[in-house]
Structure formats: C-alpha cells, structure tokens
Amino acid sequence: MRISSMFARRGFNIESLSVGVTERHDVSRITMRVDCEQHPLEQIEKQMHKLVNVLRVSELEPGEAVERELALMKVTATPARRGELIALSQAFNARVADLGTDSIVFEIVGHPEEIDSFEELVRPHGLKELVRTGRIGIGRSATNAAKPRRQHVLT
C-alpha cells in the first residue's frame, strides 16, 4: 500500500505487481514491472528506498533472471472442440485444471510472453475469463549477481 501509494502520487506507472512471502517469514517480496518511459528507473528506485519498510530494491535485468507468471483461462469448449484445445495446450505445457460440459479451465505457467501467445491462440475459441498473477522473478544462480528485485516488509 505504501509502495502503490507512492507510485500513484508520483505518477510512476506499474505494469504488474505481485507480492508474496519469502524464505524469511517476516519479509515479503514484491516483484514489479515498471514503465521507465517518463521517469528514469533510478528515480523510482530512490523513492522506493526512502520508504522505511522497504529493505532492498534491486533491478532484475532481462536475461539475468528467471521470470515466470501463472495464468488461468476459462475457454469455451464444446465436446467437439475439446480435443483440438487440449492438443494446443500440450504444445504450451498448459494443464487442464477443470473440465466442464461447455468449457475448460487451463492453467499455464511460463514466461509472460508464452502466456501471451497461448492466450492469442485460445482467444478465437471463446476466452470467457482470464486471470494472471503478474510476473515474479529471481536472479539466475550462474551469474550470482542479480538480487531480488523488490523486498518489502508488510506491517
């Protein structure tokens, strides 16, 4: 809340935000995608640093981090179209999370761009609902350089 309020009042744009617990029970971690078109990332990072309950702010460079997102999609699927949709989902390693008489809920985990592609492919079949978690990321072990992008203690 302190972070989103600061972004709102300074006119910084958030493209996605996800928050969850970490290896330390008293620390939570926020991963954000921010738009650096109007405001340089450096200024955004400095303003975040000023928040007392932000412990660390670090940038995850593309390529130096593992990035993932989870999406759930409810797609119209008459019995006649099920086979085609399921074949499609297998190409993306999507799972069938729920199957009904006229729709399927797919669960897909992957790089956000893969989710975009899958969404595009199923959309013509009738995409009834879509939920995405926003991306999370972690620095690659090999480089050892990338740090968590955002850390935030919730109070």
Partner: protein, 581 residues
C-alpha cells in the same frame, strides 16, 4: 530495569526519555488514557490548542525554532484528520514532527466505530513512516523508532496511531537505547571523491552561486556554510525555506531566488557558471521554467536525500550526505586547493551582483494617504535591526513575500514560514510553538487578514498558556495574492476575494481574547504602534490597515523564465521611493 505500567504511561515515559519538554494537543475519547497519564504527572508540558491544526503547526513552529522534534497529540477521527494539514506541511518543508493519535479500540477497527478513521491510511502520502500500534509491548520501540525516523536523514513527519485499549493495557516498560531499522539507513558521510570534485569545480568557477535551502538549517550546518562562502568568496542566495541560514546583512548574501525574489538574485542564478544547491530541491517557485533555469551552469547538488539528486535538474556533481560534514569537508578541500597557490576569482562577479542590486532595487510606490504594506514590514525590520532575539513567522500570500523581501534575518531559525505546502493560517500557531521553544525570544507573526482568520482562535492558547506573541496583520481586506493573480492573469476579474478590512475588528477581537489590540492606518502612527506591540510583553495584535491595491513585485509568472521577470512600474516619478533591501 523494567517497570510495570500501562500503555498511556509508557507513552509519556517514552517522551520523557526522548527529552521532549513540550507537546501540543487536544484531548478526546480515544486518547483519554493518555491524558489521564498527563494528569497523573509528567515532566512534559502540554500546551492545549484550540484546534488540532493549530496544535500541529505549533509543533512545527517549535521544531523549526529549536531544531528539536515537534510533538502533537490528538484523538481519533476528526482530531486526527485535523492534523493532516500540519503533517502535509511538515512533509513538504521537511520539519521533524511526531504526531501521536488515539485510535478506537482494536476490536472496533474496521467497523466504522464512533470517531474511527484510518488515519495511517489517510496520511501515507505525507509521512516518512507511520505505525498503528497493535501490541502494548511495541510502544517503547515504536516511539523510539518514530523519533529516530523523524529526525534522521531528511527530516519529516511521522505518525503513531495507538488504539485506546493498547493505551490501557499493561507492559513491562523499558526504553531502548537505540533502534535498528533495516529499511532506514540515511547516509552518514558524503563521498570524499565527490567532495574533491566539487571543490575543484568551486575553485575553477568565475561566477558561482550558493543556492541555499532549508536543508542547511535542518542539518545545523549554517556555520559550515558561512565558513565555506567566506573562504571562497562565494555569493549566497537563500530560498524562502533557507532564509536565515546565512546572515542576511552579510556582504556575500544576495537575496532570495524565485517568483518574488529580487531581480539581482534571479539574475545571479540565471548568469552563474556554477550553481551549488545546498539542501535545496529546485522547487518550481524557485526555478520557474526549468529548461531556462541557470542555463549555463554546472550544477553541484549537496543533499542528504539522494532522491532529490537529478529529480528535476540534472546534477553534474552530486554529493549525498549530511550537510554539516559535507560543507565542512568541502571547505577543507578548497583550503587545500588554495594552499597550492589558488586565489578566489569571484571578485568581478561579486561586483557585478552588487551593481545589479544597486540598479534594480526593490521598489514600491510610497506617499499618498494610504499605508503601504511594504512599509509595515520595512518598519518592523528597522525597529528590530539591532536585535538578535527576534523570531519571525508568517502566513502565506503577499505579506509572506514582503516579509521575505524586507526582513533581514541574521540568526539561524529566525524565519519560520510555510514554503512547500503554502498553508494559510500557519503563522499564528507556528509563532506560539516558536515561543514555547524559545521563551526569551520576541516572536512576531507577520500575517495576512485572510490567514489570520484561518487559525486566529489560537490567540486563546497564546494568552492562557503564557506564550505571548506579536501578530502584525497586514490587513488589506482581500485575499491579496489571489487578487494579484486575478488582476494580472484573469483580466482583473475579481472573484470571491473581498474579505473587508473591518469585519472582524481585529483589535477588539484581540482584546476579547485577553490580548492587546492596536489598529493603525497611517504612516505617522505606524512606528509607535509597532513599537508598543513589540515591547508590551503580552499577546498583541496590530491591525495594520493597508492599501489594498498594492501588488507584490517583482514577479516571475508561474512557468516563466527568470529573464521574463515582471517589475514594479511607477508612472509617478516624484512619488517613487527607492527602497533597497
């Protein structure tokens, strides 16, 4: 050594442990246990305000006059929301402030209970940090943290919200000696290499200007600033917030930059080759059109808040650190450079600035039948010129800008005003707070009639708490600055600005509050009336009924460049008075 007590007592023992001598507040339902603790005994003085906004501004005035942290106390709901304006004011002007608010009982939070309000939520955008205390055992640690955060790094307000049941619950009290906040690590020292680079740039500059903001006062770095300026023979301009950080009768002081700054100050900024921002933040009221601000200058930016660096103007040489150390080290570096045979080369530039000051003095039209507002402020300056125990506060508007232009402040922390938020009504309560911090000083609020009517009821606090202040109302009967903008930028269509000079009768009002009330409407009586107010030793209000047509010049219209400055123009030469500041 721990002691068993309830949360309310723990709050007061914590304030005592912090060395707090005075707090400002108003009781109410959700802080009753804490006020009961006041009644049961404490070394902390409680000043009873008449409105929580007044209490908040008093705490700000106390902080700004003393350099200590101001403390305001209020109840939940409306008490807390009335503090929002002072909190926002302290946020904009980096004033260290700890606000303690009562909250409804824990089990009622979130139920829309009587006088419930999510004050930590409301204030998030305008506090450095806030705490909703959920466990009585947290009180000592939270208050220690609150004072630490308010006062360290860039100063500012914090809020501690304490539910009533937490104030009543018991704990084993022990006040911590220190706090460790992993997310709050303000810079401890400016980088030596950056300081060396800054010193080299200063030594090489031919037309440097030190652009000094309020951060210098907060850092208690005025001596270091003066020694640096004197060593390098650097001219100094002080912002509205930086006013009094550098002696204004000093030969190196060259006024105040910005919208109503004198031409010579703005030209100094515009023509300089090296601009050194010292605890200043390139506010739009200083820079005007940013792209045209100090166009040829290399910028050194000294600040304790790294987020201010290159926020608006790209800094060529940033130094992030506490200004006291940074300015002191900068002087040492510069002296070392001088030791190698360098002599300051700023004398021609200083002569140029002095020539501009001669050529473009502050002017207004004098004579005629009416009392000029500028003359009221000038006379206050003359009457106090040889004193070093006067603290000024102001409201916001034309009178504030005249106070900036005509009052010369040599002592640090002797000019207290609302710069960033521009809070009308700041002056009277801030003066009361300043008086509480400095009982031996003569505290004078230069106010406007519009401002006075926003917080004037605090005269009761001044009289009854034994905190006498002098209020000089520059009474033009209008919301004068609004009128000036309507006249200049809205084709003189005056809209909802006329307050009238005689409702209320301010002198009678002052007397009704138990103070001294004086009215003056002509030049002949002015000096005598002001002198009487300054020397009576009681709460005094001077209703100075001035010419409503006077506008504040010079003026750089909002968003314009320094060279587009609009000057005072006077068609009647023989009546023209030249008043060099």
């Amino acid at each position: 050594m721990t002691r068993r007590m309830n949360g309310a007592d723990a709050i007061l023992r914590s304030l005592e442990a912090e060395g707090v001598d005075t707090v400002f507040g108003i009781p109410g339902g959700a802080v009753l246990p804490t006020y009961d603790a006041f009644a049961r005994g404490t070394t902390v003085r409680h000043v009873l305000a008449r409105h929580e906004q007044g209490a908040g501004h008093m705490a700000e005035g106390y902080a700004r006059a003393s350099g200590r942290t101001g403390v305001a106390v209020a109840t939940s709901g409306p008490g807390a929301t009335n503090l929002v304006t002072p909190i926002a004011d302290a946020w904009m002007d980096s004033t260290p402030l700890v606000c303690i608010t009562g909250q409804v009982r824990s089990h009622l939070i979130g139920t829309d209970a009587f006088q419930e309000c999510d004050i930590t939520g409301i204030t998030i955008p305008v506090v450095k940090h806030s705490w909703l205390v959920q466990d009585v055992d947290q009180i000592p640690h939270v208050l220690k943290s609150a004072f630490h955060v308010a006062r360290t790094g860039r100063c500012g307000p914090v809020l501690v919200d304490i539910p009533r049941d937490i104030q009543e619950a018991e704990l084993d009290f022990e006040y911590p000696d220190s706090v460790d906040l992993p997310g709050w690590k303000p810079p401890q020292k400016g980088h030596p290499r950056q300081i060396a680079r800054a010193a080299q740039a200063l030594a090489a500059a031919e037309r440097p200007v030190l652009y000094v903001g309020g951060g210098t006062l907060n850092a208690d770095a005025c001596d270091e600033l003066r020694m640096l300026a004197e060593l390098g023979r650097f001219p100094v301009v002080t912002t509205l917030m930086g006013k009094s950080a550098f002696p204004e009768t000093h030969e190196l002081h060259f006024g105040w930059p910005g919208m109503h700054g004198p031409k010579w100050s703005n030209w100094a900024m515009n023509k300089c080759d090296l601009l050194v921002a010292v605890g200043a933040r390139f506010d739009d009221r200083v820079t005007g059109k940013l792209a045209a601000f100090a166009p040829g200058a290399t910028v050194i930016h000294l600040d304790v808040d790294s987020a201010e660096i290159s926020k608006l103007r790209q800094a060529d040489i940033p130094v992030v650190g506490p200004l006291k150390q940074v300015l002191s080290d900068l002087r040492d570096e510069l002296r070392a450079l001088h030791g190698t045979g360098h002599i300051p080369r700023t004398e021609p530039w200083l002569r140029q600035l002095a020539a501009w000051r001669e050529e473009f003095p502050l002017r207004y039209r004098s004579g005629g039948d009416t009392l000029k507002p500028q003359l009221v402020v000038e006379t206050l300056q003359e009457l106090t010129a040889d004193r070093d125990d006067v603290v000024w506060t102001t409201g916001v508007g034309q009178h504030q800008m005249w106070a900036m232009q005509y009052l010369l402040c040599d002592q640090p922390r002797s000019f207290i005003t609302s710069g960033g938020l521009g809070t009308m009504g700041y002056g009277v309560p801030a003066a009361i707070g300043a008086k509480a911090a400095r009982p031996d000083a003569t505290v004078v609020c230069v106010d406007g009639d519009g401002c006075f009517q926003m917080t004037g009821q605090e005269l009761a606090t001044s009289v009854l708490e034994g905190l006498p202040i002098v209020v000089v109302i520059v009474n033009n009967g209008y919301l004068g600055m609004v009128r000036q903008w309507q006249d200049m930028f809205f084709d003189e269509r005056q809209s909802q600005i006329h307050l009238t000079k005689n409702v209320p009768d301010y002198a009678k009002l002052a007397e009704a509050y138990g103070g001294v009330g004086l009215t003056v409407d002509n030049e002949d009586d002015l000096e005598g009336v002001l002198q009487e107010a300054l020397t009576c030793g009681r709460t005094a209000v001077v209703d100075a009924r001035v010419d409503a047509a006077e506008q504040c010049f010079p003026m750089i219209p909002a968003g314009a460049a320094a060279l587009d400055l609009v000057e005072f123009e006077d068609g009647v030469d023989e009546q023209e008075k030249v008043a060099a500041a």
